[in-house]
Symmetry: C2
Subunit: 201 residues, 2 copies
């Protein structure tokens, strides 16, 4: 970025966050910037503290371990999606989740990292989950269908499994099936259609 | 395990593997035992060498890095599935993959670990992939359906995405949807049905 020359050579420094909320937000923003671009294992607590312009001990006191930071980030992602899903219909909500939201890639990498470590406390962000917003939409969409289809929970569980599986494992799946040259956009459209058809019975 | 007392206190030792193939097999078997039970990050090259009853330098010379060992394990899992899928029909092959094969959990944890590290060389085991066995089965099953459905590659890609996503992320998905008390067996049956219905148009 250009910095306007004002006659001084003092670099413009990031303001130091102060107080519980400011420190917490600065730390989570810093972690998000670093983890969006780098493998989870390569991002240290010290790097997060430095990026947030706070000391390591302040980071540790206010947020705890790296797993606790990741848990807080996952909850924050879910909060954003819940707000956005709240106003959408089923097609819109599924489209949003199948789409190329860059948050989704980071979210799934962090979720996978947590599952592999075995240390995640999943119960902490259950109440944040955007998945709950989908249940009434599925119920509503399938309202006029016969009663013999799967219930809303099963449809949402299967749909989330497909979305998560595709978004996280697709570098592998496309390679194995020689789909690299294929139109990924079309593949997304087809999968969205499979989910919508299923959801509406 | 009980060991029969034979009057000596010398412990029964694992035979030392000799020669390229024996060393390679012993190392992969040892890695599989350790990685089946422990998070990938916690299993060191030294632990694998010790479990295989070979030296660290022998392990390193014959198999290379930990990522190379993981790549070789993934190819070996695929080889086993390819052999088993070859004789099955579509329902059998999908059932096998949705079922509780303990290899599948280990396979997906290692695949996730590779994706997170960003170092996996996916091209090395493309030729091992069992996914290819599914393509003709899907084509065959959908043979009499109208031509407007998705092609076999899309159905298999969507199906593998759902299977992988469910098997790897289900501790999270079931928690978020309060499905812990639900009949997971029934959920598997329902998902298998969704995949089969889809595959057969």
């Amino acid at each position: 970025m250009d910095r306007q020359h004002d006659g001084s050579d003092v670099p413009v420094s990031t303001p130091t966050p102060r107080g519980r909320d400011e420190i917490r937000t600065a730390a989570l923003d810093a972690a998000e910037r670093l983890l969006r671009a780098n493998p989870p294992d390569s991002v240290s607590m010290r790097a997060i503290a430095e990026e947030a312009n706070i000391t390591y001990s302040l980071l540790n006191r206010h947020l705890g371990t790296k797993q606790a930071i990741v848990d807080a980030m996952l909850a924050r992602f879910e909060d954003r999606w819940r707000v956005r899903a709240a106003g959408a219909d089923l097609a819109g909500a599924l489209g949003m989740m199948m789409g190329d939201d860059p948050d989704a890639g980071t979210f799934l990498r962090l979720l996978a990292w947590s599952i592999l470590s075995g240390d995640a406390d999943l119960s902490t962000y259950r109440r944040h989950s955007a998945m709950h917003e989908l249940l009434p939409l599925v119920d509503e969409a399938g309202g006029e269908a016969s009663g013999e289809g799967p219930d809303a929970e099963t449809v949402v569980a299967a749909g989330m499994a497909m979305i998560y599986g595709w978004r996280f494992f697709n570098p592998f799946i496309t390679r194995m099936l020689d789909l690299e040259g294929a139109d990924v956009e079309r593949l997304h459209t087809e999968m969205g259609r499979i989910l919508r058809e299923r959801a509406t019975g």
